[in-house]
Symmetry: C2
Subunit: 215 residues, 2 copies
C-alpha cells in the first residue's frame, strides 16, 4: 500500500485560503496569490501546453505534488460552493471538463450523489461514510500508489487529528493574508510525531517536508 500524503501552500501567517470564498474567488480574497509560485513553474504551465515556465527547485516540488498519486481525497467545500443537497447536480467542480487530478477523487460529503466522470481520468466519487471510509476506498483505488489529501483545511485537520497522514509537504510563501482558513487549528494540541526531513527555499517560497515517525 502507498503512503497518505498531504501537500499544501500556506501564507506565513498560517492561511491556506483567504476569507470570503465565492464562485469568482474559490480560494477567497487574496487566496489565489498563494499559488503564484506554482503558476511560474514549467510543470504547471505545461498543463496548458505552454513551455515557458521556470525550472529548478520550485518546479521540481510542483512536479512532486502529483507524482505517484493514485487517488485524491477532498472536502466538499474544496469541490465547490454548493451547500446542503446537491440540487440539480449541475456542479462538476472548479476545474473545467479535464480536471488536473487524472485519477479518482473522493469527495467527503453528507449528501449522496452518483459519481461524476470527467475527461482525462478524473472521476468524482461522493463518500458519505466519513474520513476512514473515504481513505479505504481511495487506497483501494490507488493500489500501490499514494493517496493525496487534497484539502481544504478542515479536511486536512480531520486526517491529521486521526493520525492518518504519513507525509506532509508545506510550501510557505511570504504573503500575510490576515484572515481566512487556517491550517494549524482544531488539532487538539497539534499534529503529533512529525519530523522535518528537509527545508529548502527559493526566493518565492520555502518548502518544509515532514514524515510521521513510524510511518
Amino acid at each position: 500500500m502507498g503512503k497518505v500524503r498531504f501537500t499544501q501552500t500556506m501564507s506565513l501567517d498560517g492561511y491556506t485560503a483567504g476569507p470570503e470564498q465565492t464562485r469568482k474567488e474559490p480560494l477567497g480574497r487574496g487566496g489565489e496569490d498563494l499559488h503564484e509560485w506554482m503558476f511560474a513553474t514549467r510543470t504547471f504551465r505545461q498543463m496548458g501546453g505552454d513551455e515557458s515556465g521556470e525550472t529548478g527547485l520550485d518546479d521540481e516540488r510542483m512536479r512532486r505534488w502529483n507524482e505517484n498519486i493514485g487517488a485524491h481525497i477532498m472536502g466538499r467545500n474544496m469541490f465547490g460552493p454548493v451547500r446542503g443537497d446537491w440540487g440539480d447536480e449541475d456542479w462538476r467542480g472548479w476545474w473545467g471538463d479535464d480536471p488536473p487530478y487524472h485519477a479518482p477523487v473522493f469527495v467527503l460529503t453528507h449528501h449522496a450523489r452518483e459519481p461524476v466522470e470527467m475527461q482525462g481520468g478524473t472521476t468524482f466519487h461522493f463518500v458519505t461514510e466519513g474520513i476512514e471510509a473515504a481513505l479505504a476506498r481511495a487506497q483501494e483505488a490507488a493500489g500501490t500508489k499514494d493517496v493525496a489529501i487534497a484539502g481544504g483545511a478542515s479536511t486536512a485537520q480531520q486526517y491529521l487529528r486521526a493520525g492518518l497522514v504519513d507525509e506532509m509537504e508545506l510550501h510557505v510563501v511570504p504573503l500575510l493574508l490576515g484572515a481566512g482558513e487556517r491550517l494549524f487549528e482544531n488539532l487538539d494540541g497539534g499534529p503529533a510525531g512529525f519530523e522535518c526531513v528537509e527545508l529548502v527555499s527559493s526566493p518565492a517560497v520555502a518548502h518544509y517536508s515532514y514524515v510521521r515517525k513510524g510511518a
Copy 2:
C-alpha cells in the same frame, strides 16, 4: 532617526512561545526548541566566550538581530513572571547580571517602578504611559540607531496594529508546537503593507525579511 525593527523566531504553526510559561520554562513548553538554530551559531556562543559555533547564513542573521540597535522595547511578560504590583522588586529579568541587550530596555507595564541598572550597559526602564510613549523614549535613547521591538507576541501585535514597525524579520523553524502564543493574531486583518524583500533558508530555519511600504 533610526528604524523600528521587529525580529522573531516562530514555529511553522505560528507560535513564538509554547504553552504554560513558568519560571523554569520562560518560553513555555517546547518554546526553547524554537531557538536551537541560534544556539548553534558562533555569534550566540561568543556571548559565552565559546568560539565553537557555526558560521554562515544563520550566524549572519543572528548577528544582524542586534546590529545597530540603540534601544529595546519589551512587554512585561517577556521581562518576567511577576504580575500586578512589583512587590519587593527582586525580579531583575531572566538574563542574569549582564543581559544580552547592552542598551536601554523599555518595559511596558501598568505598574511604575524605578529603573534597574544591570551590568554591560543594559538598564531596564518601566513605562506606564503606553506603547507610543515607550517608543518615543526608546527613539530618544537610541539616537540615530534603530529601536528593536523585542516581544513577546502581545507587544509585537500592539506595535504592528499601530503601524509603527518599519522592518520585520521572521525566522521560521520547522517545529510544530501545537499551542502557545501566536504572533499573527489580534491584528485586525493582519499587518498591512509589508513587502517581503528576501527569503533564504538553511536546513534549520527559513529567514523571511519584510519592509513596510513607505517606511
